[in-house]
Symmetry: C2
Subunit: 466 residues, 2 copies
């Protein structure tokens, strides 16, 4: 919560105790006068539900709409359930078209049907049109409140037009030039308009090569375009280049955050959740996690198989079994590190598929050095253990220590290599690199690590311990 | 690369073959006329280095500056090394102040010293002032090119003023109202200015409660403010509220991406890298990964200790050792899933510390269900193995299967719980939740998992197999 809102909280609570609606409205108006919509939303979140409803009703209508837009969908739904048709209708009509569509998309069918009659005809049609776009498309996140001008307007006519429509537009800083059929023919920034000669025509100052996206495009594509060009707004068009809406810079932040969340979940070995953690039903959670856990478990079953191949060796030198978890998980850890680094680097474009050979060289060198580091530690550890319980090592402490060291160097290097190449390979195959999750890489390294470890042990200890 | 740039590429390459500078400049001007700066930057990246330098020199000066700003720091440095003082000076002078400071911050000391004399006095001072702010602060990412107006200006005077300064300002859509001492006293959006009555004073329409940040504030704080309020620009002030610069909405995208990268690396068990993966020196990489690997390795050493406590049990029933990797890594996997989910949910604010009890309940239920799922699979697996090699199980296949199942249920549940609580605990202690990386949680689950597994085995198999 902002500093300002926490300072105001006691006064607001005081005001809410007043029984008289008029007095309440006046004091609320005075208290919230200098507050931004996001801060009022904060206030609403801080209050008990009944108080929040009371405060919300007492707000000045314009503030009410803006504060509502800054609430999360869950809180919006709660308010919707507790407001009368009057208040609700004006809030919904006043909302920006993309936020309103988001809310309708989120609400259950029954609530939607209850709300439609409260909307004015134009807004109702707007919502219905936007809901037709599939979740995740540009159309599903766009707003229909953009400012258009005509190519034959003069600069001063365009500015005069903007003065009138400004309050109903999400942005007036990017102006879309459309022809009689509302086809997008150009774009002008307000900055260009303001600095242009007032008598000149819009057509003479507009940029004709407009970058736009189709309503059916992926919202991540749209976010990438806006972020690449540092746009304030990107026009969304249909197949005939007719303007349908805009996606604005603040939507990009949401998309980028959502993308990073999706990747973080996949890297952690979870299928991406559609809802926030606490709102995801437990059964959905079990499904999204269970699928991967089962796959990993099946992979891990091979560790038992792999180990049972070396039962004879373990029987003779039980001490070898003690180091299995330590050695294989060192490979998994180093593989997980490499995978995390490369998945993220691919996501932000720092590493491309064509860089794979550079990555191989880096990871082999890094892996050898890291393996050497752990190898030295492992060597010391085994020697110390052998010092205290020599009978377990039957006098071959030094040889066992050397086996552990060599195994660590090879397995850590192998982990780094496998962990870094898997995401690149997946991307090359057109799959999502984030699928090569840390637990997946760890499992791969566990199974292969056991084979590598015992192979090295048999080779180095044959005729002595084994 | 954008569609347009790839279409133009052959023509551009053709033009670059022309020997005459004037002809080249003309054809380049014609070709790039409708291209946006980001697209020209794309073109430069696609060309061979020599061709890129040639094209860059042939660009119209204003395009040159903008295209340069859209290049990455690595590419900017390469160009800087290959341009003469003339071209370079005009590019550097023309750059927006934050991008210029970023470049100087990135360049080695020697290159910086070589470039300073090419800058005009004002720009040189600007860079030096900005470089004084520590990396990661608001001051280090802010731009000094903002538009200010005076409170006693009329609306039309303010608009007239904007017309003149617009080309040199990063944004004119948010106007900062300053007094004689350049102290920030208010803020007005261009939208408000345009829709206001032309004769009214700025002081009568400006918002006086301005949300701003100190230059020493963390850049992530600034990004959070801009993203919370959907601002286009946030003013940065000193301790006397004197205006120093602005941070704009496009900077936020970079900060959010950088934050997500840092978290992804930490969750993967790597200390955050300062440079992109391919630009990080190998020794730095070894250090950033080695520290964690060594810590995890030391943790893993306890698995050998833990296992050696149960040597007698393993000696009697070797078969128990075979399932160790599978069982403990199931705990680690489920813990890693829970940790990834909670770390990300904390980062985006979906889960707060106060939600810990709700998380506990969810994770215990989810963990039990997931453990049950794996338990069934483990049960079947052991029975099948016991069917094929009954001598290993000495007729107690069913009992061993039950032991594995119970262990899986307990350990997977324990993993979910530990993985979800660790990030919350770290946050509560004021530490970074992302430090509870997947490999860290896995190691914790490995060590504890071994103890849990053998304890359950001893309890269930005493008097039969053991």
């Amino acid at each position: 919560m902002g500093e300002m809102t926490s300072l105001l909280l006691p006064e607001v609570k005081d005001a809410l105790r007043s029984g008289d609606e008029k007095i309440l409205a006046e004091s609320v108006a005075a208290l919230t006068q200098e507050l931004l919509a996001a801060d009022i939303a904060d206030l609403l979140l801080t209050l008990e539900h009944d108080d929040a409803v009371k405060l919300f009703k007492a707000l000045e209508p314009r503030k009410r709409v803006h504060a509502f837009e800054f609430l999360g969908l869950e809180e919006q739904e709660k308010l919707v359930e507790n407001l009368g048709a009057d208040t609700l209708g004006s809030v919904l009509d006043g909302m920006s078209s993309d936020d309103r569509a988001d809310l309708f998309r989120y609400l259950p069918e029954a609530a939607r049907e209850r709300l439609y009659p409260m909307l004015a005809q134009a807004e109702r049609n707007d919502v219905k049109r936007l809901l037709e776009f599939k979740e995740g498309t540009a159309g599903s996140v766009m707003s229909t409140e953009y400012a258009t001008i005509r190519p034959d307007m003069t600069v001063s006519e365009a500015l005069e037009h903007l003065r009138h429509v400004a309050p109903q537009r999400e942005t007036i800083y990017v102006l879309f030039v459309v022809d009689d059929q509302r086809r997008l023919v150009g774009v002008v920034s307000l900055r260009e308009l303001i600095t242009a000669v007032t008598g000149s025509r819009v057509s003479s100052i507009m940029r004709r090569e407009v970058i736009s996206a189709r309503a059916t495009a992926d919202r991540e594509e749209v976010a990438a375009l806006i972020s690449k060009y540092d746009f304030l707004a990107l026009p969304i068009v249909d197949e005939n280049n007719v303007m349908l809406g805009i996606v604005t810079h603040d939507d990009v932040i949401d998309v980028i955050k959502a993308e990073a969340t999706e990747d973080a979940q996949k890297v952690g070995g979870v299928e991406a959740l559609e809802l926030p953690y606490l709102e995801t039903p437990v059964l959905t959670m079990v499904r999204k996690r269970g699928l991967w856990l089962v796959l990993l478990f099946v992979g891990q079953m091979f560790t038992a198989n792999a180990m049972s191949h070396f039962e004879n060796e373990i029987m003779v030198a039980l001490v070898l079994a003690l180091f299995v978890p330590m050695i294989i998980s060192s490979g998994g850890n180093s593989g997980g590190q490499a995978a995390s680094l490369i998945i993220r680097a691919l996501a932000v474009g720092e590493v491309r598929i064509s860089d794979w050979w550079r990555v191989v060289r880096r990871e082999v060198i890094t892996g050898l050095m890291l393996g050497g580091l752990l190898g030295v530690l492992g060597f010391v550890q085994v020697l110390v253990r052998a010092w205290f319980s020599p009978q377990e090592y039957r006098g071959h402490g030094m040889l066992v220590a050397a086996t552990i060291t060599v195994s660590l160097v090879v397995i850590v290097m192998w982990g780094s290599l496998a962990g870094s190449m898997l995401p690149i390979l997946l991307k090359r195959l057109g799959l999502d690199p984030a699928t090569s999750s840390t637990p997946f890489v760890a499992t791969l390294c566990d199974v292969t690590g056991i084979v590598i470890y015992f192979a090295i042990a048999i080779f180095m200890l044959r005729g002595t311990l084994l």
